[in-house]
């Protein structure tokens, strides 16, 4: 047989499948014989003999053991390659021409698809043909669920062993185009019917027409039980195949739309629950499964006073005995799929939409911004966690100027339309602020703008994509994030790192009596805003039982530790570029068990920690030349971090700061700026 390599190019490759099969048979026998020879050699025990001969014999046996070890597996792999390549040489043309296999060829095809080895030696054209043939071979799955299980195993094995991403994608396209959207959408329903066969068979009043009662009944009547994990073993291979198909550029548009826009949104969501899908397909799913669904739910909410549950039979729940299942909320599943594709996440949240949900008064409102729609009308079972994942992915992916538009929209929603159903979305906002805008928050806190604006900074600022918040709204944003401890912690940790860097950089220059260091005003303003946002205007307001207050306390300790731990170049980089994830991880936050648990300790910490951080900065940069009290001496000549000290040592630190004139003079200008900023925001932390 003559075969052109790679679909053309002039040269022809000569392959005779019969010689490949014949060679494979010889190699296979050789491999078996070799196994016997290895066993025979292993059983030889050498008698006593002259040492010179013993060395030669033992060396020969050891060498044989080492040399022969890898041969049988290697030969077996060659047998597989020769037989599979012989298969393709023999049947590729037939399959590509659209003729189906039969007899031995079909048996070989099924067996070798099931162990994945056929796709291991297929090119793209052959992979498309294999996908098509597999879809045909298992087209009767609707009547025999066992076929679906075999099909899932074949897809899983082939995806694992396919020779490269292009082959996988071509295979996916061939399969889905032949299998069809209708059958793809049936797959999750078939698995659901098998997993929940008893409940579906005997439960009365199932009104969802998509639930496959007949499959459940037949499975139950035959006394079968599912032996495979319904999500990982059965559903996932179809998800990955579909994902590959969407990325191939060869998926029929009709099939793509029929799956994305299916009325059975539960099945669509199940099919996108794993894998990375192409952007256009995901955007279709987002429109129908999230945007349109939210609009539809807004109507249902009016009529029924609540969202109608999607299904009573979540995939995986019965199998895992309640430990693991696909999310109940299909919008959440689709949003998670978007979060796995940064480009799709970015487009979904930044492209205008045309949605007209019903407000609580039954009036239609036109909304064009997707973040606005999701925030205000999205009723998410996970309280917006998946939405937060998409948001973080999008803001990470977009250029700064574009990403900041999303940030401004999200913050505007947080300030104006906060509701309990979006509590988990706050983690996303906090992550975005921590990763991209912590510098902007410090700048906003120090600005004279006391309005309620939230906007992109005008051009001419330090870089594209900076945001500006009026102080009132900055306080509101922080207050709302403080309602969710995980979000607040994320924000404060980045804030502490940035603040430590500001102090480190600011204290590299000698203190000047009578000066007004801008950096000190900035940290004072940010800290005052945080204190205001958490109702901590005076130290007496501190309540150890208030988680927000413990986190604020942790923030101050974090700063004192950070000033000691930061190297100058790192501090300069943080001040310049913000707190990226590398810095964030380099400076883990305080141990929650180590934060002060009493009001008295807290008072001590909060009053002194900022001043102590400034003193540490000046001391470590050699701007203060005084003898340290022994209990404050750390390693390598550093001052110990104030936050790490016990109460006695803290007293010693305070005495050193206040009673040593040189220290007091050095710290004075910066501490004065902090104090002014506090006063400006009605924070009274005086003793």
């Amino acid at each position: 047989m003559l075969e052109a390599p790679g679909g053309g190019g002039g040269t022809v490759v000569l392959i005779d499948p019969s010689t490949l099969r014949h060679a494979a048979a010889r190699v296979k026998i050789t491999s078996q014989e070799l196994q016997l020879a290895k066993s025979a050699l292993a059983q030889i025990s050498t008698p006593a003999m002259p040492s010179s001969v013993a060395a030669v014999v033992l060396s020969a046996l050891a060498e044989a053991d080492v040399s022969l070890g890898p041969l049988p597996p290697g030969l077996d792999q060659l047998v597989i390659e020769l037989t599979r390549r012989a298969f393709w040489a023999e049947f590729a043309d037939q399959l590509l021409a659209g003729y189906n296999l039969s007899g031995t060829a079909l048996q070989e095809f099924k067996a070798w698809m099931k162990d994945g080895t056929l796709l291991q030696y297929a090119d793209e054209g052959e992979a498309i043909a294999a996908g098509r043939e597999l879809a045909v071979a298992y087209s009767g799955f609707r009547k025999d669920p066992q076929l679906l299980i075999d099909l899932a195993l074949s897809l899983k094995a082939s995806e694992a062993k396919a020779a490269g991403a292009e082959v996988e994608r071509a295979f996916g396209a061939g399969f889905v185009n032949q299998f069809g959207a209708k059958n793809m959408l049936l797959v999750p329903r078939m698995i659901q019917a098998m997993e929940w066969s008893r409940q579906i068979t005997f439960e009365m009043g199932i009104t969802n027409p998509n639930v496959l009662h007949d499959v459940a009944l037949s499975w139950e009547e035959n006394g079968k039980t599912l032996q495979q994990d319904p999500i990982k073993d059965l559903l996932a291979p179809f998800c990955i195949t579909l994902a590959n198909a969407t990325c191939s550029g060869m998926l029929a548009p009709g099939a793509s739309s029929a799956i994305a826009d299916s009325e059975d949104t539960w099945a669509t969501a199940a099919l996108v629950s794993q894998g990375t899908f192409a952007t256009p397909f995901l955007l279709q799913c987002f429109k129908s499964g999230v945007v349109d669904k939210i609009v539809e739910d807004s109507r249902s909410n009016l009529a029924l006073g609540g969202t109608v549950p999607e299904t009573d039979f979540p995939l995986g729940e019965m199998w895992s005995q309640g430990k693991e299942s696909l999310p109940f909320d299909t919008k959440q599943t689709i949003l998670d799929a978007l979060a796995r594709n940064p480009d799709a996440a970015a487009q979904a949240l930044s492209q205008p939409i045309d949605a007209q949900p019903f407000d609580v008064f039954g009036q239609r409102e036109t909304i064009t911004n997707p973040i606005e729609l999701l925030y205000r009308y999205g009723d998410f079972a996970d309280h917006g966690a998946a939405f937060g994942h998409v948001y973080v992915t999008a803001t990470d992916h977009l250029p700064p100027a574009e990403a900041s538009k999303l940030t401004v929209t999200a913050l505007t929603q947080l300030v104006g339309y906060d509701h309990g159903g979006m509590s988990a979305f706050k983690d996303g906002i906090a992550t975005d602020l921590a990763d991209h805008h912590i510098k902007d928050l410090f700048d906003s806190a120090a600005s004279l703008d006391t309005s309620s604006s939230i906007a992109i900074a005008p051009s001419g600022a330090d870089g594209a994509g900076e945001i500006e918040l009026g102080r009132q709204n900055l306080t509101t944003v922080i207050a709302k994030l403080a309602d969710r401890p995980s979000a607040f912690q994320t924000l404060l940790h980045a804030g502490a790192t940035y603040q430590a860097a500001l102090i480190d950089q600011g204290t590299q220059s000698p203190p000047v009596l009578g000066s007004s260091p801008v950096w000190a005003h900035k940290i004072g303003s940010f800290d005052a805003t945080v204190l205001n946002a958490t109702d901590l205007n005076r130290w007496e307001d501190f309540h150890a039982s208030d988680e927000r207050h413990q986190l604020v306390l942790g923030f101050f300790k974090d700063v004192t530790n950070g000033v000691v731990a930061l190297d100058d170049p790192v501090a300069d980089a943080v001040v310049h570029t913000g707190v990226d994830q590398a810095f964030d991880k380099a400076f883990p936050g305080p141990d929650p068990l180590q934060v002060s648990l009493t009001n008295a300790d807290a008072k001590l910490d909060m009053i002194n920690s900022i001043r102590a951080s400034i003193a540490a900065g000046y001391y470590d940069h050699g701007q203060i030349h005084v003898q340290l009290p022994p209990d404050l001496q750390g390693t390598n000549g550093h001052l110990k971090a104030y936050g790490s000290l016990d109460v006695e040592a803290k007293r010693s630190y305070e005495r050193w700061m206040h009673e040593n004139q040189q220290v007091a003079d050095a710290v004075g200008p910066a501490a004065g700026q902090v104090s002014d900023a506090f006063t400006d925001q009605s924070i009274d932390f005086g003793p």
Binding site: H22, M49, L71
Partner: protein, 115 residues
């Protein structure tokens, strides 16, 4: 007069048995090497994949041939060594017989009695 000498403590029968086993496996592996070489030679399989398969078969064949050779050499050495041990032991036995023959009758009888 010289003393009795001990025999070399090697079981040459066992040495020959093992040597033959090694030789059998050496021949077997040699045949398998030829089989792989033959399988490669009969392939009509051009192109990079074909070249790689043939190359792998050639490598495996050469490995088998080398192991076969090494085992064969070891077997040959073992057989030669067994022959050498046997001839040394024969010389020692002749020497000991001569020593015995030159002993006074009473001493020889005593020695034979103690043996």
């Amino acid at each position: 007069m010289s003393e009795f000498e001990p025999l070399l403590p090697y079981d040459t029968g066992a040495m020959r048995t093992v040597a033959i086993a090694l030789r059998v496996q050496s021949l077997h592996l040699g045949q398998l090497a030829g089989e792989l070489s033959g399988a490669s030679g009969g392939l009509v399989f051009d192109g990079p994949a074909g070249d790689r398969v043939k190359s792998s078969l050639g490598d495996y064949s050469r490995t088998l041939a080398a192991v076969s050779q090494q085992l064969g050499d070891a077997a040959a050495k073992m057989l030669a060594s067994a022959d050498d041990v046997d001839s040394q032991n024969a010389a020692i036995e002749a020497h000991n017989a001569s020593v015995l023959a030159h002993m006074p009758p009473m001493e020889r009888k005593l020695l034979e009695y103690n043996r």
